[in-house]
Symmetry: C2
Subunit: 198 residues, 2 copies
Amino acid sequence: MSLRERKKLAAWRAIRTAALQLFEERGFEAVSVEEIAAAANVSRSTFFNYFASKEAVVFDQDPEQRDHWRAIMAARPADEPLWDSLAAILVGFNELLGDRIPLQRRLKDRSPALAQSSWDVVGEQFLTDVREWTASRTPEGDTMIATLQLNMSFAAQTTAYQTWGADESFDDYLRRLKHCLHQAGTGAMSPPASTSPS
Amino acid sequence: MSLRERKKLAAWRAIRTAALQLFEERGFEAVSVEEIAAAANVSRSTFFNYFASKEAVVFDQDPEQRDHWRAIMAARPADEPLWDSLAAILVGFNELLGDRIPLQRRLKDRSPALAQSSWDVVGEQFLTDVREWTASRTPEGDTMIATLQLNMSFAAQTTAYQTWGADESFDDYLRRLKHCLHQAGTGAMSPPASTSPS
DNA sequence: CAGAATTTTGGACTGCGTGCAAATATGTAC
DNA sequence: GTACATATTTGCACGCAGTCCAAAATTCTG
């Protein structure tokens, strides 16, 4: 790893930690990009060299994390049913994010702007990667069914996130995620009536 | 309907038609709010009185439409399974939107900014209304399962939209939407292998 | 150490979205 | 219709996100 690369990574992390710190202290909207840059000892321009937008600094993942989830994807056996793979990938991804998710949650709760950022939890990069991965594992004519399963797995993820009560732990969240994935897998209308656990 | 209300509606429509016209001619990004306001014979301030953002003018629905989809929601029998209701509501909503959807599609295809607006197809208002409707029909402990079904129905909608080929008609899109809803209802992993129709 | 390649920086610029107070239009009561 | 209350429109100023570009600064290569 060359000096350049090390410095790049360091700058990326300096910006992100500075930003998150400020966001936690004063809320997303109340912090300007200028302030973030200043806190990270970088120019405003440099901030935009690393992050496409102010929101990206909340949702983008550490470059090293990216390698991890790519490994997770690559590890799925080629003959595994798509849905099972997607479920495993999403769970793995969430475990990977770990304690960063609560932070995102805290910020979102306080910020209208962040609240309706298209990307919840899963950042832009992961979305792109998992789309690509799905496409690579989908035979010619099945692209619709594959897209549907992909979107359904995200629906499960979103649901777990949305119904994550303020008093619940991260493990509770993970459990619910798995439950939602299972439920989505077996079908939305499978239970004729009340089948809500825990 | 008072004069005020009639004028309001007229202004709303004037702004939207002017905006859509300009967007079609020159693309979403290339048109400024000032230009839209000018084309609609209104001040810039007034534009923001009616639309919360430049994007909202693409996704917000005509106030009268809102009454229509509310009627659709109200018409669902109280004892119908949630999933069936949601499916019917979404189909009804899309039929209602009708030829406006292709327009949105055309704009989105040309505009990166629009492309990743959180709201695809279904605008903010419909989202809010259908959330509220769902909540009103959900017993105390079933909020997670209800949220999941809601999100899954949107996943089906999104999928139909994403896989809508440029050469396909609006009816093809509607057909695919129904198919996706059915598929999502019976479960993501139901087909062990290739089961893609048409 | 010299020159190529990449990154950082500052500065100017466009345009969205907000806030506010003055002007204008509509509704209401007499 | 005149007078007053209420709602809407308008202009103006402001902050700030995001883009572009050319000049510095830094790292890489030999």
